[in-house]
């Protein structure tokens, strides 16, 4: 019966894993290590990190980043404060962060529909590396350099954002 309960709990949590704070170890390891001490959340000057609610199943209470509301601004204050190593304490360079990868929805993205827009390109913290403009017009994500901070997702003028960061934590 216990197995059944655990399976159920995992089934709700695996659906769509939210973004973890920068430096997070792979999701399974993260859930084993995070003790919900809220330190990352408390040190964050932008209030980017919030606690996961019940809809996230077994990971309730753990820190997540809701990029559309407040993205991560890569100040790199949170990785060193984690006591258990759920966030990699040695991660200090923002270029090395890998929270996820931004994906552009070409159906709704404005330039692909003939309207000039450079919001994501101009606000990307890994400027001219993670998001490039093809033909000076169409934004493209370079997966290699994208850190998944979600700033592009935040600034996208399209309703429900044409660029969405997919979490890197599919176990």
């Amino acid at each position: 019966m216990l197995k059944f309960i655990v399976d159920y709990i995992e089934s709700i949590s695996n659906e769509d894993i939210a973004l973890r704070p920068p430096g997070a170890v792979p999701e399974k390891e993260f859930l084993n290590k995070c003790i919900k001490c809220n330190k990352c959340l408390q040190i964050c000057p932008y209030d980017s990190i919030v606690t996961a609610g019940l809809e996230h199943g077994r990971s309730f209470g753990t820190p997540i980043v809701k990029a559309r509301e407040v993205p991560c601004y890569l100040c790199m204050l949170c990785p060193p404060v984690c006591p258990t190593g759920a966030l990699d304490n040695n991660l200090l360079k923002k270029e090395e962060v890998k929270m996820g990868v931004a994906v552009i929805n070409e159906q709704t993205c404005l330039p692909y529909n003939g309207i000039i827009c450079r919001a994501c390109f101009e606000n990307c913290p890994i400027f001219r590396k993670a998001i490039i403009l093809e033909d000076e017009m169409y934004p493209k994500v370079v997966e290699e350099h994208c850190v998944g901070c979600g700033i592009c997702e935040r600034v996208c003028p399209v309703e429900s954002s044409a660029i969405i960061v997919k979490s890197n934590h599919h176990v």
């Binding site: 290590k33 001490c37 609610g53 006591p83």
Partner: protein
């Protein structure tokens, strides 16, 4: 060592002051963060004061069980609470734990009377349960953590839940399911009584009890001084955990709150004291010979 007059009565006052202080501290941390002062961060799972990291030893045990690796900074961060437990016993429970503070408030006579009427509970007899019951329950918790692979210690850590919910309430984050777990355990405590959680189950207390040596502070009983032995036991009557301080096998259940010693001092003779060794018994023997 503790020969000053009214030492234990004063000590108990300090303990209460510390309980209030620790509650205020938990409220102050989120307020300071709202004011953008981030020198003290964390809650009772783990707290950082400037550069000093402190982690609850039960969380260290859980992380080692779940992740199966020894993360050195984490183990270093547990040194302060472990050292405290080695010297003074489970004083975290009696001096700081907000759940204990809450339950001690429930001991107010008026509340107890209502409780007794509502649930028709009789006064339970004081006794010291067998030690193995305590360790069996703790090993069941550890083994189930190992088997299920879920952070059970975190979910059922009362001080952790209370501190993180105080934070969430003040900052304005959503209140989590933690509060439901807390509510269930608290209500069962109100109905069942007898402090079953602190006494038998609490994984935080059990982890601290692991670090107990011969030289850890303990309550010692000097029978030759005790003059209320025959007819009454004010010490047992004042024990929050329904233990009998006069008898042996007090540990690992007792968390050294010193309330029994306080009432003992109030009766005028100090039969119960805190001591770090068993040497006191020998001294008494020598004194007896001299007399």
């Amino acid at each position: 060592m503790f020969s000053k007059n009214n030492f234990y009565i004063k000590l108990n006052k300090y303990r209460k002051a510390m309980q209030v202080f620790s509650l205020l501290f938990l409220i102050a941390v989120p307020i300071l963060i709202l004011l953008d002062i981030r020198y003290i961060i964390g809650n009772l799972y783990s707290i950082s004061i400037w550069e000093i990291d402190i982690v609850d030893p039960s969380m260290v045990i859980q992380t080692i069980i779940l992740s199966k690796e020894f993360y050195i900074p984490l183990i270093i961060a547990a040194i302060i609470p472990i050292a405290l437990a080695l010297i003074f016993g489970r004083v975290f429970c009696s001096w700081m734990c907000p759940y204990n503070t809450l339950l001690e408030l429930l001991e107010l006579r008026s509340i107890k009377r209502i409780q007794r009427k509502l649930f028709k509970r009789k006064k339970s007899k004081n006794k010291n349960p067998r030690t193995y019951i305590y360790w069996t329950i703790f090993s069941v918790i550890i083994i189930s953590t190992l088997l299920i692979g879920l952070p059970i210690f975190t979910w059922f850590s009362m001080p952790g839940i209370i501190s993180s919910e105080i934070f969430a309430a003040i900052i304005g984050l959503g209140i989590g399911i933690d509060l439901l777990i807390f509510g269930i355990i608290f209500l069962s405590e109100v109905v069942l009584g007898n402090r079953y959680w602190c006494k038998y189950v609490c994984p935080v207390g059990a982890s601290l009890s692991l670090f107990r040596t011969k030289y850890t502070m303990k309550i010692t009983y000097n029978e030759s001084v005790c003059d209320c032995a025959a007819y009454a036991e004010p010490c047992a009557g004042n024990c929050p955990l329904n233990l009998r301080p006069k008898e042996k096998m007090l540990y690992p259940y007792c968390f050294n709150c010193g309330r029994c010693i306080k009432v003992c001092e109030q009766t005028g003779n100090q039969a119960l004291t805190f001591a770090f060794t068993d040497k006191d018994d020998k001294k008494e023997n020598i004194n007896n010979v001299e007399v």
